[in-house]
């Protein structure tokens, strides 16, 4: 007896076959065992087919006749659905027309039409950073792919899980300099975790499965799938694999227990410890474990720019961000510590300052999922390769179960010293200047959103002010291009975050320089009714460039001044949004509250700020963490 199962919509076809020919002539008996309507609204039936002789052959030919073959485009869309993809950010073009046709005929995967492919990748990125799930973008061949590259590189530098589908010219045309052909695999190779060119439609579903698996596991990152147009037209049976295993890719999860024990012993013997934690804690979903471990020990915590939100910023043990524009207390605590516990951080040059002068008294423990991050820039004493929550849970259990406790007297003295550094009040600014201060605007945003907004930022001075003055208590709330430093990231990233969290407040803190790099997305925001609050800190300068020119080029402001700015209020209005201009410090809070009340509207708030305000504190290039400029 052969059981034939799960043939979609095949009941009538089967009955037809049975009455007409092959099954009857083979003397096979066929009995319908069960029948049901599946999720797609079509019949699925289970038949028992019994009989003598060539029954297997009958079953096979039946299967062949009844198996539904899908086009590559349909397979792609169905695979995305299987992966739980709800939003797809993209822009159509010749090479992806079949895919768009397949998208048109279903409603599970919602396509968001951006206005430039760079924004498609940034929006997918913002979606990923605000949810922890993979973001997905779809672009056409040639310029579609090259425009997407900035967004792919941005995600790569910050280890963001993303799957980018690029259309490609016909397989037969590849290499012929066809219209809109570019070597997408070659161009993206240095800025992806992995990429695939799919040449056979039969490989498509498995490749998509692998792409999501690679993008979201281990140290996450973007994966590109390049699909020639003929592959999206060709047909194959659709079987989405439940799991995938690859002999060449097996990310580590559990940390080495011996190393974890050594680390715990070192942590408990510390007299001047600090937790230095990065984006890996957010990406690895280890924020709760970090908070528990740090509070169990009563040790101070500093976060990198990428790690903000991994430890509640309003907590007493939090010292603020560290590094070039970090707080005085965070950098001094780093410099003088005797045990440095680095978790999911990569000792970036913006964090370490001069590497020769970095943490001269410290023994270093480093937990990271990526072995190549360990001892890359700074040699560490106890390396632990593993996933952050797994390793931290082990640590918490070992400390709880052991006899040794932290040296309370030493830690008390350490906190006294930190309090002294804190009293420098390094983030104070002139509140009586009569000008709108950028710091004041971020603080006002923090109050108006009760510290609970998704804050997306562009790149420059405003990014540092947002990081310094908005106190992030939760992970996934702070969304910025930390590694690549991509201007134009903020607004499209905010679109991704807003679509992922339709009821949340999403703010885009930007400058008049950055916002103009993806300003066209105001149109996308109108189309999808995205009520983003744009907080533009408009100082009529490319502020960070100007600051460096002031400090290091004797104030020669080469090309850092913008003489022909648009009227942002009218610009916002022309896109159907609300525009506001605020140039009086007394109006900041009122305007902010008014904007937040406009729940369903995008509000472009053009804050005319103090033109020459600088980001302080600052570590000049080549200096150590203890050599900060305070004001």
């Amino acid at each position: 007896m052969v059981q034939i199962t799960r043939f979609r919509g095949c009941f009538y076809l089967l009955r037809e076959l049975y009455t007409r020919n092959s099954l009857r002539s083979s003397k096979a008996g066929m009995r319908e065992k069960s029948r049901f309507v599946n999720a797609n609204g079509s019949f699925e039936s289970v038949f028992n087919v019994a009989g003598a002789g060539n029954i297997n052959r009958v079953a096979i030919s039946l299967k062949r006749m009844l198996t539904v073959e899908l086009t590559g485009a349909e397979i792609l869309v169905r695979s995305l659905k299987e992966e739980g993809v709800t939003h797809l950010f993209g822009y159509p073009g010749g090479a992806v027309l079949h895919i768009y046709d397949a998208l048109y005929q279903q409603e599970d995967v919602k396509h968001i039409l951006v206005r430039h492919e760079q924004a498609a990748t940034h929006a997918a990125d913002g979606y990923a950073r605000s949810t922890g799930k993979a973001g997905v973008a779809l672009v056409t061949s040639g310029p579609g792919a090259t425009n997407a590259v900035t967004g792919i590189a941005t995600a790569y530098m910050d280890s963001i899980p993303m799957v980018v589908i690029t259309g490609q010219v016909f397989t037969s045309m590849i290499g012929n300099d066809a219209f809109q052909e570019v070597d997408s695999i070659g161009i993206t190779r240095p800025c992806v975790k992995h990429n695939f060119l799919v040449k056979d439609v039969a490989d498509l579903a498995e490749t998509i499965k692998k792409a999501f698996y690679i993008a979201t596991t281990g140290r996450p990152g973007p994966v590109v799938i390049d699909i020639p147009k003929d592959v999206t037209a060709n047909k194959a049976e659709f079987n989405y694999p439940k799991t995938v295993s690859m002999r060449s890719y097996n990310p580590v999860v559990k940390g080495h227990i011996g190393q974890i024990k050594r680390a715990v012993a070192m942590m408990l013997s510390a007299r001047r410890p600090i937790f230095y934690t990065g984006g890996g804690v957010v990406l690895g979903r280890g924020a709760a474990e970090l908070t528990a471990l740090a509070q169990q020990l009563n040790y101070p915590v500093t976060n990198t720019l990428m790690g903000l939100g991994a430890y509640p910023a309003s907590d007493r043990q939090f010292l603020g961000m560290l590094g070039m524009h970090g707080t005085y207390e965070a950098n001094m605590t780093m410099h003088h510590c005797d045990v440095l516990i680095a978790i999911g951080a990569r000792f970036d040059d913006r964090v370490t300052g001069n590497i020769e002068k970095f943490c001269p008294h410290a023994k270093i423990i480093h937990v990271d999922i990526d072995p190549s991050s360990i001892s890359k820039n700074v040699k560490v004493d106890v390396p632990i390769v593993g996933s952050v929550p797994d390793v931290l849970q082990e640590m918490i259990a070992l400390i709880k179960g052991g006899n040794k406790k932290p040296d309370e007297d030493a830690i008390g003295e350490w906190w006294d010293q930190i309090a002294e550094w804190r009293s420098a009040d390094c983030l104070k600014y002139d509140e009586e200047s009569g000008k709108v201060k950028p710091q004041q605007v971020v603080e006002s945003l923090y109050r108006a959103t009760h510290g609970d907004a998704y804050v997306c930022s562009d790149v420059g001075q405003h990014q540092m002010w947002a990081a310094q003055y908005y106190k992030f208590d939760k992970p996934y709330r702070w969304i910025n291009s930390g590694g690549l430093g991509t201007m134009g990231f903020g607004l499209p990233a905010a679109m991704g975050a807003q679509l992922a969290h339709p009821d949340a407040t999403v703010a885009c803190v930007t400058g008049e320089g950055s916002i103009q790099m993806c300003i066209q997305e105001l149109s996308t925001c109108l189309q999808y009714g995205l009520p983003i609050k744009i907080i533009a800190l408009n100082n009529r300068y490319l502020g960070m460039v100007r600051q460096w020119q002031e400090f290091f080029y004797d104030g020669r402001y080469a090309m850092s001044y913008m003489e022909a700015l648009p009227d942002f209020v009218k610009l916002a209005e022309s896109y159907g949004h609300v525009g506001m201009r605020i140039d009086n410090p007394a109006d900041v809070d009122g305007a902010m509250e008014e904007a937040m009340k406009l729940k369903n509207r995008l509000v472009f708030m053009d804050f005319v700020t103090d033109q020459e305000e600088n980001v302080y504190p600052m570590i000049p290039a080549g200096a150590g963490l203890n050599e900060m400029i305070l004001v």
Binding site: I185, P190, L197, I214, M246, S248, P371, S372, K376, K379
Partner: protein, 163 residues
């Protein structure tokens, strides 16, 4: 320090460029690189000769391991291993020089694989150092062209690299 890194990788289009791209993007240097399929057609074996401090070599092996197509790798120079390279050397061979090159080829265990009235082509398979010595023994003006395969390496004894 000179290191010989042996890599087992998926035999897929683009795998070689991922390795070569990694070296150029991160500023590592490649002294030689050889690659060909193994007895298992789904795998390629690559031998890379590179130079760098211990820290650099550690980064190179970690970064190579991170490539999705890399199945396994070993730094052969950490242990006893054998290196072989093949060279094809075409020399001007006229008059007395013909005898001289024949003797020289014998001394170096080389073979003359092509003979014309005016040229010899000598095949030599040995360590890179021996090939350099051989080339040094020939008058540079007499060399018409040289082709070297780059180093292939394998560990001595029971040790092996397999998936």
């Amino acid at each position: 320090m000179r290191h010989v890194i042996s890599i087992l990788m998926e035999n897929e289009a683009g795998a070689l460029s991922r390795v070569a791209g990694l070296f150029s993007a991160r500023g590592y240097n490649i002294e030689s690189l050889t690659v060909a399929p193994t007895e298992d057609a789904s795998l390629s074996r690559m031998t890379i000769v590179t130079r760098g401090s211990e820290e650099i070599i550690e980064q190179i092996t970690k970064q190579l391991n991170k490539l999705i197509d890399v199945v396994k790798l070993v730094d052969l120079s950490e242990d006893e291993h054998i290196e072989r390279e093949m060279a094809l050397i075409k020399v001007r061979a006229i008059g007395e020089a013909r005898e001289e090159y024949k003797r020289l080829a014998d001394i170096f265990n080389g073979r003359i694989i092509d003979v014309t009235e005016t040229t010899y082509t000598i095949e030599l398979t040995d360590s890179g150092d021996r090939i350099v010595e051989f080339l040094a023994a020939i008058n540079a003006d007499e060399i018409i062209e040289t082709v070297r395969s780059g180093v292939s390496g394998i560990a001595r004894g029971e040790k092996s690299l397999h998936p």
